[in-house]
Each structure stands twice: as C-alpha cells, then as structure tokens.
C-alpha cells in the first residue's frame, strides 16, 4: 500500500504539538522582518505523523531485519543497550557550552575513548572531532600537509592505489594535492610505490586490509620507502574490523589513520549517518590535531584550544558525542578479548562464506581473505550481471552486498558478513547465492525482473537524474502509480 508524502496528507489546522501557555507578554518583531505563512508546510495530528513514519519504516531494511553483507560498511549488530546509554539525560541533555566543571563525565568518557582508540591502533594521539570517515580523512590529510609545511616542505602530490575508496582522492584534492594513482595487483607492491615515490610526494593513502579484503602484506616495507623519501602514510581505517587485537596500524609504520566508529565499533549507520571518524596520529603529528583536544591535567579533564600548530576546527564543537558514547559502550562491553574475538569471527565468517561460494562464483584474487571477500559476475550465466544478482537477493530476503566496487574488479560483488552473523545466517545466504546462480542458468528472467517482492520495482535512475525532482512542489507526482 502506498503512503503519501507528508505534504499530501496535510489538512489545514492540524497539529501534533502543544505548548505551555505563554507566561510572559507576547512580543513582536518589526513587520519587515517577519515572514508570511510557510506555504505547503505540513499540518498533521500526532497519529498522522506516527503512522506516516511507521509505514515508511516498513519499506526499509536494516541489520535487525536480516543479513546485510554490504562490503566495506561493516554492518554488524548495533547493541540496544548502547542506544539507552547515549540517551541518558546526563549525556543527551548536556549543552556543549556547559562549563567544564559541569561536563566532567562527558569529558572523562571522551578522554578514555581517545586512549582506547590509541591503544587499538597503536597511534598515540587521537582527535574525536571528525563527523565521519571522509571527514577524518580530511583532518588527517590536513595534518599531513601542515606537518610538511611546518618543515618548510611544499610537496604537491599524493599516491593513491586503485583499490582506494573514492573519498581518498576527493580528500586529497580538497587539501590541494594532486592525485597520483598507483596500480596494485590485489595487494600493493612495495616496488610500485618505490617507483612513484619522490620528493614531491607528501603521502601515500592506503586502506589496510584493502578493499579486496586482503592484508597489505608489504605494508611495513611500503611505509619504510615512503618515510625514507620524506613522506607520510595515511591509512583509511574503514576495515579495522579485520585487525583488532591482531595487528596495529601504528606498529606497521602508519602515521595517520581514521576510525569509522559506525563500522568497527558498532554504532548504528542511521540510514546514512551520523557516523564518527576519529583520527589517530603519531606523536610527531600530535601538535597538528584539530582543536579542541581533550586533555587531562591536575585539575581534571578539559578541552584544550590553545594549540598553535593545530590545523584548526573541522566542525562545530567536539565531535559526534552521541556516537562516541555508543562506541565507548561497545568497547567496554567487549573488552580486549572480545574485540579480538570479534575480528577473528568476522574473518572466519568471510572465509567460510568464500569457501562455500568460490566454486560457483568467480574469485578474481586468491590470497587468503580477511573480513570480506570480493567475487565477480564473470561466471554468472544467462547474461545476468551483478546488478541482477543483487536485486534477486532482495527477493530471497537479504540485503545485497556492495556491488561494482572496488573498481579494479569488473562486476564486483563485495561481501562482508561481520562477526555478528551466525553460521545459520551465512548458510542461508550461501544457499540463496547458489540458488540464484542456478536460476541464472535456467530462468534468467527471475534475476532480470527482480525484485518482485518489494513495494516498488526497479527504479528509473536515469529519469531521476535527467529531470531532477528534488522536492515536493505542490503538484502531482511524477506519474500516477498503480497498486
């Protein structure tokens, strides 16, 4: 059944809100400052609103709905107690301008989280301010540039392997760098880096394990080469879930790394955010951290704004505190053994899934996988492509994997099960994948016409981009639908 837009529901005079009686004299602004009515704004009762969004929710698929193996996104279980934690009045109701002596609980939590992230990554100085992974990249690359400039160096290039997330080059560009792509062979070869590394290269940006789910086994040597020629190494930490308690980027020679708290540390993805992207750096880079930094001294914990070499401020206030609370709760819930076990079971799940599917699906890179595995659609019959497979998985009740990424694999199918999933859950997914491969041989239209069980069928993305309708404007809808 369909659900109208909020604006199409509205009826003049309804509201779902009430105010206390005004206990002071009414006031007025000069008329020239005051707007007329807001045309088209919703007018609904509380039940109208509750039903509207309850219905909308049922058209979504989340981790609680079922298996969500979206590669590179680490869709692990979001513990319910963490949702309670971040809503404690003392956290949710704390104003960012409250005096420090009345914010000590929050500051303590942030301070401890900084230390936990430092210990997990082997990078001793941490900022919690960035709002997401890409924001963390920006912070990290700005620090790298600031470090160079503090040494009088004006290098202009950044090396980025072809397996990188798209945010890496975008970030480098935002820091004024020219991007130099580096070809990898599944894993990045030290020789390839050595060849491109020169005195104009400020940094190498690398993801480890990389977007193929493979450990960059030459990473130590690569870091040595980059350092030797005066560069720094940035690590995209999106895949840290493969390494907790096993290997620490800081110990490998990484200088800067961001954390995706919403991936590795189980904070909810929220339909696209908010996440949080703290950044860890070596002691040498610590002076460049964004302000404020949470520090402890004799008098307690405080926000340090007086950092003359800081790259400055990346956003308002101190970070996505509500997300930080959840990540802190997760780390405390698992402890050191639990974090390591999470990594181990994530890797076990990915390898088991791979073992069950690699005879049927084409596996372009054979090295031992860590937390995720990338197949391609090369062996898929009946002219079916990765997109068809993905849509057909929806009919089987699963969220599709990441598709067409990484770009180095044509028709990539990038599967990350995470440690939260049980053997049964992975078995059911594998059965579906195998069944779909058979369907592609015998009834390819089942794939090509999928999904059939959803509220809407495949959507016309070209139409959306060609004739953008980005807001309701009071007219009818694009086309009248059928039930």
């Amino acid at each position: 059944l369909n659900e109208k837009l909020l604006f199409e529901h509205s009826d003049k005079g309804r509201k779902g809100y009430s105010l206390p009686a005004l206990d002071v004299p009414a006031a007025q602004l000069p008329a020239e400052l005051v707007r007329t009515d807001i045309r088209g704004f919703p007018e609904l009762s509380e039940l109208d609103v509750v039903r509207h969004f309850t219905r909308l929710s049922t058209w979504n698929y989340g981790v609680d709905s079922g298996f969500y193996p979206l590669g590179s996104c680490t869709m692990k279980y979001n513990p319910k107690v963490n949702e309670v934690a971040c809503r404690l009045p003392g956290f949710a109701g704390l104003h960012p301008h409250a005096p420090e002596d009345l914010s000590q609980g929050a500051l303590e939590l942030m301070y401890q989280l900084q230390q936990d992230l430092a210990e997990t990554s082997g990078l001793p100085a941490v900022t919690l301010q960035p709002g997401a992974g890409a924001h963390g990249e920006l912070a990290g690359m700005l620090m790298i540039r600031a470090w160079h400039e503090a040494r009088g160096s004006r290098r202009g290039k950044v090396l980025i392997p072809d397996t990188a997330h798209g945010t890496n080059p975008a970030t480098a560009a935002l820091c004024g760098y020219q991007v130099i792509p580096v070809s990898s062979e599944g894993v990045l070869r030290a020789a390839a880096v050595a060849e491109l590394m020169d005195e104009d290269v400020a940094a190498l940006m690398i993801t480890n394990p990389n977007t193929l789910g493979l450990f960059e086994s030459e990473i130590t040597e690569i870091c040595r080469i980059v350092h030797e020629r005066g560069g720094l190494v940035y690590c995209d930490g999106a895949n840290l879930n493969a390494l907790m308690g096993i290997s620490r980027p800081g110990d490998l020679g990484i200088d800067v790394m961001h954390f995706n708290l919403h991936k590795t540390f189980a904070t909810p993805h929220g339909g696209g955010g908010p996440g949080a992207g703290p950044v860890g750096v070596t002691a040498e880079l610590a002076p460049f951290l964004p302000v404020p930094v949470v520090v402890r001294d004799e008098e307690g914990i405080r926000l340090d704004f007086e950092r003359p070499q800081s790259i400055g401020t990346l956003k308002g206030f101190y970070g996505h505190f509500g997300v930080l609370v959840r990540a802190f709760a997760y780390i405390r819930s698992l402890g050191p053994d639990g974090l390591r076990k999470a990594t181990e079971m994530a890797v076990l799940n990915a390898n088991y899934l791979r073992a069950r599917l690699e005879e049927t699906y084409h596996l372009p890179y054979k090295a031992r996988s860590l937390h995720e595995v990338v197949f391609s659609d090369r062996k898929l019959a009946g002219g079916c492509r990765t997109l068809d497979l993905a849509k057909r998985l929806i009919d089987y009740g699963f969220h599709p994997p990441t598709i067409y990424f990484p770009l180095v694999v044509a028709g990539a199918i990038m599967i990350e099960p995470t440690e939260s999933e049980s053997l049964e859950s992975i078995d059911e997914f594998c059965e579906a994948m195998l069944a779909i491969a058979r369907e592609a041989e015998t009834q390819p239209e089942l794939l090509k016409e999928a999904p059939r069980r959803t509220r809407v069928g495949r959507l016309d993305e070209t139409r959306a981009a060609r004739r953008p309708r980005l807001r309701w404007d009071g007219g009818g809808q694009v086309g009248e639908g059928q039930e």
Partner: protein
C-alpha cells in the same frame, strides 16, 4: 559474548569447510612481524548491568536542564523534543540501515529525505536542498567552497558576527585552497557594518557569509547585503545557527540569499554535548550541479509507481573521485529524519507559535536584565531568542556566581572576542519558564556584587 554467536562447534565446522586448522591460520597473510604479540591493554569486558552503572555514573557528572536552569545557546538550543520523535527514529528499520544504495528496500529512508529536502526548501525559500551535512559549521564551509567553484573567484568575506565555529571551520576547509578570507566587523547594532561591507566587496569576491540570526542573536540585514553582493556578482550565503528563527523571520531566499546553510539541531535533536547535529544546505537551481552531498530525487519504477532514489551522483566522490564537489560521503540521515518528524509534528502553526514563544521569552528576559543595575544590552539590533549582555565585571566571574545558584546563565564571549571581557550571550527558549528568567535576573543582580 552476547554479540558474537559462534559456538565452538560452529567454529570447528567452519574451519573444516575452509580447510584451515585454526582461526589463527586465517591471518596467515599478516607477517609475524606485523602481529601484535600481547593482548590490547583495555579494561575487561563489562556485563550489560555493569556497563550501564558505569555510564550512569559518568552521566550524573554532567549538568543538564534537569539539574540547572539553563540559558545557553550559541549554536545549540534547548528545545522540547516530543516523545514521538525518539519513538520513530528508534525503529530499527531506520537506524540500523545504511545509505540507501538499494532503493527498492530503502524507500523509507529515501522518502523521508525527500520530505526533509522539501521542508528545508520551504523554510529557507530556496529551490533545492541536499540530504544534509555534518552540521551547520561544515555546511557553511562547503557553501564557501561551492561559491568559489561556481564563481571561480578566491576572495570570501566572513562577517565577524558569524558563529566563531563556522568561521574557524571555513578557515580549516580553505587552508590549502588559495582562498582569501576577510572578516567584516559589526556596528553598534550588532549587525554587520554595511559600510565595511561595501568597502570590501569587489569583483574578486566569491561569497559573503552572514549569520541569520548571527552569533549575537541579532538579525542581520540580509536584504541590503544581498543587494551589495549581487551587485558584484558574489554569492550571499546566509548561515542559520538557530533554525527555529525561520519559523518567524523572512526566508533568506526572499531577501536575496543565494545559498542558505545552517544547523538543524533545534529541530528535534538532543544537545548531546555538541553532536551529532544536522547541517542543512539549500541553494538556487543555478547551483544544482555544484551542490555537495547526497540528493534524493523522485522517479518511477518499472510499473510506473512513484519512488525515490539517490540521484545526481555524478557530482559525488565515488564517481568523480578527485573531481567531486566535496569529499562528503555519508549524510546525517537519522538526524534529518528526526528533524523531519519534529517539523511534521509542529507543523505550520506549531512552528510559528514555538518561534513566537522564544521571541517573547527572550524579549522579556532582555527587558528584565536591562533593568538590572550594572547590566546593559550593548547591541541595538533586533534579536530572536538570544542576546548579548554586558555586565559590570568579567563575564566569567559573574556567571560563576550565577552557577552557584544552579543557573547556567550564559556563554562568556571573551574566548572569541577578546575585546568583550564583560559580555556574555544569553539564550531563552520556550523551555524557560518565567520563574527561571526571574531567578536568572535575581542571580545576576547578586553575581554583579
């Protein structure tokens, strides 16, 4: 381990299927030298009840509007959040989903964001709005970058009355981009000085950024600024730190703004020590293909039914990589959802009335404080729900005395404006009752001694 389902038998079965002898073996590609040889040094695992007890203890060490009478604003506002907001965003189909890459099973998120984009357009009067950004400050920085891209110019004027975090964030984003940032001072009204503005605006200017209301709570004269800016081909960016004001103030588009960005926290998001909040970004159609961030558009499915998709992705980093309009990848989806629900609940009348209550409460407080001996209101400009007070001695000292009465009376301005040691910013919302305000006045009078 309550979040990890593997039994020992499961592990054995899976290792056998893989053909590995141990879990350890799965990490064979990690050279021994790259391994951590000791356990992580972190506190031991907590049970759920221990965890809650530990967090509750931390939470109790923070002040809130439940423990103190609170008059803090400055970019984060204490507004009432109807219970339905949290109830709805707590539906796991919303909050445990990710970016709607697969639109057929993400229509909930997609339609809600389409509604959010519409609401932001209605509030600001603009043509188009994106799916949200990290917060007001970073949205403001992205607006400056977009204006520079669109105009191909390199000089940006920032009002000194603009929120200091916004100015600082713009500076950080522009740090290595060869842009020149110029601050424009304010006059005795607390508004940006039109003469200074006229003097600095020229054909090199990409953008002029004004707060609306500004950091002092004062309502800037956007109309005049727009005339001046457009005369020189510069974009006027209105940065809204308190969006509730848009329930009452003329929409920036009507006054000639080219880009409107701002902070959506007031719309149903908790104060949460500063985040996560909600940046909004709205522009005119001319800038559509230059917009940063995600966009949701309406389209049809194979059966001709209305549906929604992420669109115009060719601007984004996963397609355009280093040529993207921004490096932003996520949005604040759940925060945008909360704001959409909040605005739907308040609706046309509720939003206006709430704004009017804020106006009235602040006007009352301003009048009462102005009547106190030793206190003045230094700026003459019209305000919405916050205003600057000048006290008889250092603001921090006055406020510390007020705090002893259980009142968080305001924000000292000296950190950002060293020339204002005795000034502080007072915010009054619909959550402050008259007796809170009277208590503040009494405490200020006492604190002045």
């Amino acid at each position: 381990m309550r979040y990890i389902p593997h039994t020992e038998e499961d592990v054995r079965h899976m290792l056998a299927a893989i053909g590995a002898g141990s879990v350890e073996e799965l990490f064979c590609e990690i050279p021994s030298a790259a391994r951590l040889k000791r356990p992580l040094q972190l506190p031991a695992a907590r049970s759920e009840s221990e965890l809650l007890a530990e967090l509750a203890e931390l939470a109790l060490r923070n002040a809130t509007a439940e423990t103190h009478r609170m008059f803090l604003g400055g970019g984060a506002y204490n507004h009432f959040i109807p219970a339905a907001v949290d109830h709805l965003i707590s539906r796991s189909e919303f909050y445990t989903a990710y970016t709607p890459y697969q639109p057929e099973i993400s229509q909930g998120t997609l339609q809600a964001i389409f509604e959010f984009q519409t609401l932001i357009c209605q509030l600001t009067g603009m043509d188009v709005a994106n799916a949200s950004m990290y917060d007001g400050a970073s949205a403001c920085a992205e607006a400056v970058l977009m204006a520079a891209r669109a105009t191909k110019r390199a000089r940006v004027l920032l009002a000194r009355s603009l929120h200091p975090d916004y100015r600082a964030t713009v500076a950080t984003y522009c740090r290595y981009l060869d842009l020149e940032l110029v601050e424009i001072d304010f006059d005795a009204s607390g508004r940006t000085d039109p003469d200074r503005l006229q003097a600095e605006l020229d054909e090199r200017c990409a953008a002029l950024v004004l707060g609306y209301p500004n950091f002092f709570g004062v309502i800037e004269d956007l109309g005049t600024a727009a005339r001046l800016a457009s005369g020189h081909g510069a974009r006027l960016i209105a940065a809204v730190q308190e969006p509730l004001a848009l329930g009452l103030l003329k929409p920036p588009a009507e006054l000639g703004a080219d880009i409107v960005v701002g902070e959506g926290q007031s719309f149903g998001l908790p104060l949460a020590f500063g985040g996560p909040y909600l940046g909004f970004f709205a522009a005119r159609s001319q800038d559509l293909r230059n917009l940063p961030g995600r966009l949701v558009g309406e389209t049809l499915d194979v059966n001709g039914r209305r549906g929604f998709v992420l669109t115009l992705a060719t601007r984004e980093q996963h397609i355009r990589r280093e040529k993207a309009t921004s490096n932003i990848c996520s949005n604040q989806g759940l925060c945008a959802l909360a704001a959409t629900i909040y605005l739907a609940l308040l609706g046309r009348r509720g939003l206006r009335e709430t704004a009017e209550h804020n106006l009235a409460k602040a006007a009352y407080a301003r009048k009462q404080i102005a009547a106190l001996s030793g206190f003045t209101i230094p700026f003459s400009g019209e305000v919405f729900n916050e205003f600057v007070v000048e006290g008889p001695k250092k603001a921090a000292d006055v406020l510390r005395r007020v705090q002893e009465q259980g009142i968080l009376g305001g924000i000292p301005l000296v950190r950002w404006y060293p020339d204002m040691p005795q000034r502080f910013l007072v915010c009054v919302t619909e959550q402050n009752r008259r007796d809170d305000i009277d208590a503040l006045c009494a405490a200020l009078a006492g604190g002045a001694l």
